[in-house]
Amino acid sequence: MNQLEKEQYLREYAILKAQGKPFFPYAVAKDAAMACVVLAVIISLSLVLGAELGPKANPTTTTYVPRPEWYFFFLFEMLRVIKPPSLVPLATIGVPTLGLVLLFLLPFFDRGPERRPERRPIAVATFIVVAGAMAFLTYQGANAGSPFAVEMATPARVTQAGGATLAEYTVGKEVVASRGCLACHKLGDNGNAGPGPDLTHIAARLPRQGIARTLVNPTAPMPSFKNLPPKQFAAVVAFLGQLK
């Protein structure tokens, strides 16, 4: 904004202000109504959801699955998405610091006189992209399941088949969850995307024999599971063979 635009703005603003209403009681009434809404929301959240207190802090645990508070999910998910070790500082402090510096300096690099959102396409597009990315990462972070559990719904055809098929499927699911497969594979909302391929629809790409062969003779870095007890091994193959 140059001097002329600044003065124009100030003149225009003075007129608009002169045409306005006093802060008290007109704006204060709206503010007070909003405050009541805010308090109502806080109180109902407190009454409905309460204040859960988890198990006591235990640094010796090897089974706890830490997850942050929901408003840090976008940062948490960014740490999961940015995989290469050399980029870790970028994910932990690089991107957040850069974002904050840009936010901090915003009025110093965006100095155009235009204020209407529909005439600031770059600013509004940036806003939509950033807000969308944060919402998407928050959603992904909220759904990031434990790598030691499979929370998939059992397919209908397995439930209908029942009997031995269902029993083997359940055992196989349990073995897959507890034997660390999901450290490297994704299965529904659980597990990590990489280094191994996504297992959610593995049977559509690989027949049962192929699955069994891969489990015995995998490509590095996957370990061989030939030492699993035969029953468990068969159950894992049966379970993965149902994932179409």
């Binding site: 608009l16 045409q19 306005g20 709206k30 209407r116 600013a123």
Partner: protein, 270 residues
């Protein structure tokens, strides 16, 4: 003899009239309610004579708000209100809390949640109030961004606002550790290590936050002190500056509001 029209009686001089009934009793004396009102006015006058606060109040409350302001403009005051709610509930929670990692912290929170009258309710308000406040801060910031309200002459207020956003997130993060349950502990470990990933200074920063090389006896009290003394102090000071600037520069008008149709007013000003 023709009758002359009767002239109306001349009005009585004011001094001869009966005085109008005064408030209170028939004899004009003040009743207790009026006495109390008078006493209140006298006290306010006494304070105002010595502080001139009424001028500040007029400046703060009876300033004009530009035409066209709408419900989006209540997000800032809603954030302030959420902060006040956090401050009040936080003070009362602090009365029960013990920052002792060897069991006292968790035990005191368990006591508040399960045994203190309304304890779970107040702790719930503080816990969910933090979520509400974070959401409101982001909404308020989004409104400011979309309405272009950070532009001249309000750049400094935007900068203060960004600092307040960071401080709000710091409050959310340091508050996390205090219940000392599993989520609190591991989130803090991860958060402190995230600070440690800054090259050169990072390791010293995480040592400072922990008060040593490992999670130790004073880590919890450090976070407690930052959470309830250091950062709230900064937030209160910066909210004061933020509000001062809002009052001094005025609330923005919505960007589509134009003063075109007010030629008479412009002439009047000229």
């Amino acid at each position: 003899m023709p009758r002359l029209p009767k002239l109306p009686a001349p009005p009585l001089p004011a001094a001869l009239k009966a005085p109008p009934a005064r408030p209170g009793e028939e004899d004009g004396r003040l009743g207790p309610i009026e006495d109390a009102k008078q006493a209140g006015i006298t006290i306010v006058d006494w304070v105002d004579e010595r502080t001139s606060l009424s001028g500040v109040g007029r400046w703060l409350l009876f300033r004009k708000v530009p035409k066209g302001t709408n419900w989006f403009y209540t997000l800032g005051s809603a954030t302030l209100f959420a902060f006040l709610s956090q401050a009040v509930t936080g003070v009362f929670l602090a009365m029960y809390y013990r920052p002792d990692p060897a069991g006292g912290a968790y035990e005191s929170i368990r006591h508040v949640t399960n045994e203190v009258f309304l304890g779970q309710f107040v702790r719930g308000m503080h816990k969910w109030g933090s979520s509400v406040m974070v959401v409101l801060v982001f909404l308020h910031m989004g409104r400011t961004f979309l309405f272009g309200a950070y532009k001249y002459p309000r750049e400094l207020n935007w900068v203060i606002g960004v600092v307040l956003l960071v401080l709000t997130l710091v409050m959310a993060f340091t508050g996390y550790l205090l219940p000392f349950d599993q989520r609190a502990y591991w989130a803090t470990i991860v958060g402190v290590n995230i600070n440690g990933t800054g090259p050169l200074l990072g390791p010293y920063l995480s040592d400072f936050l922990r008060g040593g090389g490992e999670f130790g006896a004073t880590t919890l009290s450090r976070f407690y002190s930052i959470h309830m003394l250091l950062v709230p102090g900064l937030i209160i000071a910066l909210i004061g500056a933020h509000l001062y600037l809002v009052t001094k520069l005025g609330t923005t008008a919505p960007p589509w509001e134009k003063a075109e149709n007010s030629a008479d007013l412009r002439e009047a000003k000229a």
